[in-house]
């Protein structure tokens, strides 16, 4: 199962520091999180970037999530 680690901001919505999720890709992982945590909204999660095994992805959809993956949601980064 992939491990999702929630930031302190998201912990306010999930009530947990991390979660174990069975999913093979990002879309399925998010769908599972939205079912599991009522306060977590689609707007909230889909506006965030995701880091899967250290690779930051700004516009994820079908990215592979493996059973040993570590997943973080983070604020989208832009720049100058």
């Amino acid at each position: 199962m992939a491990t999702v680690i929630f930031s302190s901001e998201l912990q306010r919505l999930t009530g947990e520091e991390h979660a174990s999720v069975i999913a093979t890709n990002y879309r399925d992982l998010v769908a599972e999180l939205l079912i599991r945590y009522e306060k977590l909204t689609e707007d909230e999660i889909l506006t965030m970037a995701v880091a899967i095994d250290g690779e930051i992805i700004h516009d994820p959809l079908l990215e592979t999530v493996s059973p040993n993956s570590e997943v973080h949601f983070l604020f989208r980064i832009s720049g100058g």
């Binding site: 680690i5 930031s7 250290g54 690779e55 930051i56 973080h72 604020f75 720049g79 100058g80």
Partner: protein, 750 residues
């Protein structure tokens, strides 16, 4: 996956393809386009920093014989609040609209209220003076600390703080509170034997690009409207402008002129939607340019900040806890770079216990824009100053203290993922072994050192490589070249194709001639657009091999490609790229490769800077006498432009540290809106900035590239301020370290 390899073209210091046009004055910048029948647009700006607009009477202006159009906020289709991501990050569409032209409130001195287009510039200026506006002047809120007070005047009645545990009942100037934490901060400080805590201030600063904003537009009701402008991202100008005028993207072509600097400040729109509406109403092409005064007062500067940083360590130098409170001014509308500030402030350190809280706060100043590593210089200034003080307290060399606690591959960042291979340790080692650090410091000088981190980003880039019948090629990209990126694209394409650089011509195409490319910013272009170039080049090579295979009547797998030549592996026959292109009409038509990607895996970059200063104790004037910038580039595609980015970042950071600040009077009016009084460094102010390129390849890029444009502005603030502190024996916590402030520090200490 990148691995050590020999390159034929990458790493060469070729002449930049746009250089000749730029040094001879032939290059066309934002203000250089004129069209037949063109008229001039001018903007009337608020004389107050905070005021309600009770009424606007434009009748006298409209009666002027040369006036052809007047535009106010009310001329635009209504927009509602909501997320929109046109360029340098998420933007609230209604805020964007109200920043372009004020609705019912003027929120900073210089805020655009309305625009007039007339046959001549002088007539437009004259007509502005004929407009009557009834303002109710309100108390301006000019400092983040004041704005956060519960009894502060509130800028927006509909702004409620996000990020609080409880939904707030009252509006506030605090748009967002954010928190990041790791470990147990109280346990971390309990384990510390030495704790240093300081408050810091950084002022509002401008990017200081030399070319003011400028645009020429033509609205066409029936066909294709056009915007020509100086921008870092013409696709995002198209998105914002089309959204505000409720146009289809396909009805608006945006052409990026050559750009005279941006540094993040040209990642949003100011004039373009106004000029296009003036053109729509007048039926004429419209040109608008900002004066330098307008650039300062009404374009987006970098955030002012107030911060508190507290760091605890054991006597052996092990850092046990890091804590920060970071308050960022957003200007008139929410959206400061507080988020990246929180995410970067302690990233150079591998520490168990971290707690960071950040605040995004509106004040009566222009809405901030991105500025080179937005948010990071302010935050890391505070952190690095405390690290240096801690090194003094512990009597440990500042490089050794950093090496002992340095972030490295596997370090868990406070913002989320573990770091992949990064080059901070290598930069610190390079600093330690540099001639600069080994040179003893004369008695009258001070030395400072600081580290810096920036993420770098990827994102969408599109490239087409069109091969010509003689074997030359055109690289068509969609990213305005603000730092020599055309040369880097040329080198990467040459490396992949095996075709000499001189035979490849890179061009920046308009929004109709290449698919969407995200803005040039975030140190993304050489990384992400470079990856698109590589993909397009590989597409060309594949087609070349297919064409050669058809000529030789073999399979494509039986054709190899090396140094721009197809090799028949069954016979050793050869066809050059030029021969294949020349015969393309007989093998299926001309050859064109494409790379449309959303690049992932941007490699973060660390830097370490060393600074020596000499302070005139009688005047407080600071001279930077030696400076070295060390940074991890992953792989330097064009070393001269990498070094140029290091030097440019250092120069801007030195200006931020020493002299640059917006000075406001008590009415919220900026008093130094010009380069005579807003003092950016001149070449004569600075020594030659030495550079050391460290190369720890980014595993996610075919050549190992990391972005290099932004990290270099992060360390100078603390490196310079620490050097001054070292010289005068007083901790400098407020920027800029201008002569009056340094002199006062010396006098107060004595």
């Amino acid at each position: 996956m990148s691995e050590a390899r020999e390159y034929k073209y990458i790493g060469q210091r070729t002449v930049r393809p746009d250089g000749f046009d730029k040094v001879t004055g032939r290059a066309a910048f934002g203000a250089d386009l004129s069209l037949p029948g063109m008229i001039w647009g001018k903007i009337l700006r608020s004389p107050y920093a905070h005021a309600s607009i009770k009424s606007i009477d434009t009748s006298k202006a409209e009666a002027h014989p040369d006036v052809m159009a007047v535009v106010t906020y009310q001329d635009y289709p209504a927009v509602s609040s909501g997320g929109f991501e046109p360029g340098d990050g998420p933007t609230d569409l209604r805020d964007l609209a109200r920043n372009v032209l004020a609705d019912d409130k003027a929120l900073y001195h210089g805020h655009a209220i309305l625009a007039i287009a007339a046959r001549t510039e002088a007539a437009a200026e004259k007509a502005l003076s004929l407009v009557d506006i009834d303002y109710e002047v309100l108390k301006p809120v000019m400092d983040v600390a004041d704005a956060m007070q519960p009894d502060s005047a509130v800028l927006h009645a509909d702004l409620f703080t996000k990020g609080l545990a409880e939904q707030p009942e009252n509006p506030s100037n605090i748009a967002t509170r954010m928190e990041l934490k790791k470990g147990d901060i109280e346990a971390g400080f309990a384990a510390a034997e030495v704790v240093v805590e300081r408050d810091f201030y950084t002022p509002t600063v401008h990017q200081g690009y030399i070319e003011p904003h400028a645009t020429t537009v033509r609205y066409d009701d029936d066909g294709q409207s056009m915007v020509w402008c100086s921008t870092q991202g013409h696709f995002d100008v198209r998105a914002s402008t089309a959204k505000l005028l409720s146009m289809d993207l396909g009805k608006l072509k945006v052409i990026a002129s050559e750009i005279g600097g941006g540094f993040g400040g040209k990642t949003t729109v100011y004039l373009e939607p106004v000029a296009l509406m003036l053109s729509k109403k007048s039926g004429r092409p419209v040109k608008m340019t900002m004066t330098r005064d307008e650039v300062f007062r009404a374009s987006g500067p970098g955030s002012a900040t107030r911060s508190t940083v507290k760091i605890g360590a054991k006597k052996d130098g092990t850092i046990t806890a890091m804590q920060a409170k970071l308050c960022y001014e957003a200007g008139a509308f929410k959206g400061s770079p507080m988020g990246p500030g929180c995410m970067t402030v302690f990233t150079p350190y591998d520490v168990e216990n971290i707690y960071i809280e950040g605040y995004d706060v509106v004040v009566n100043k222009p809405k901030v824009a991105a500025y080179r590593a937005p948010g990071a210089p302010q935050a890391e200034f505070a952190a690095e100053m405390v690290i240096n003080e801690l090194a003094d307290e512990l009597n440990i060399d500042p490089i050794e203290l950093r090496l002992q606690n340095a972030a490295k591959e596997g370090t868990q960042t406070v913002y989320g993922p573990k770091l992949k291979a990064v080059g901070l340790v290598e930069c610190l080692e390079a600093a330690k072994n540099s001639p600069h650090y080994k040179q003893a410091l004369p008695k009258n000088q001070g030395r400072g050192l600081a580290a810096g981190f920036w993420f770098n980003i990827g994102g969408q880039s599109s490239v087409v490589i069109n091969m010509n019948p003689d074997g030359t090629g055109t690289i068509v990209e969609g990213n305005p070249d603000i730092g020599g990126s055309r040369a880097s694209m040329q080198l990467m394409a040459a490396e992949e194709l095996g075709i000499d650089v001189s035979k490849l011509n890179p061009i920046v195409a308009d929004t109709e001639h290449v698919p969407y490319s995200a803005t040039t910013g975030g140190s993304r272009t050489t990384f992400a657009t470079g990856m698109a170039v590589i993909e397009a080049a590989r597409d060309v090579v594949q087609q070349m091999k297919e064409r050669a295979a058809s000529v030789w009547n073999v399979t494509t797998e039986q054709v190899d490609w090396a140094d721009g030549v197809a090799i028949n592996m069954t016979s050793d026959d050869r066809l050059t790229a030029a021969e294949i292109c020349r015969g393309a009409e007989r093998t299926g038509g001309q050859i064109s490769g494409r790379g449309n990607i959303n690049a992932r895996g941007a490699g973060p970059s660390f830097a370490v800077h060393l600074c020596d200063v000499e302070v005139d104790k009688e005047t407080g004037k600071v001279d930077v006498v030696r400076y070295t910038a060390i940074q991890d580039a992953g792989k330097a595609i064009h070393p001269s432009y990498v070094e140029g980015q290091y030097q440019g970042g250092a120069a801007q950071g030195i200006g931020w540290a020493l002299n640059e600040e917006y000075i406001y009077n008590e009415d919220g009016v900026m008093e130094n809106a010009g380069f005579l009084d807003y003092r950016i460094p001149l070449a004569s102010d600075l020594p030659m900035i030495d550079t050391i390129i460290v190369e720890v390849p980014n595993a996610f890029h075919p050549f190992g590239v990391r972005g290099v444009g932004e990290t270099g502005i992060v360390p100078p603030l603390a490196a310079v301020a620490t050097a001054i502190s070292d010289s005068i024996g007083v901790r400098m916590t407020h920027l800029p370290c201008s002569p009056p402030r340094v002199l006062k520090a010396i006098q107060d200490a004595s």
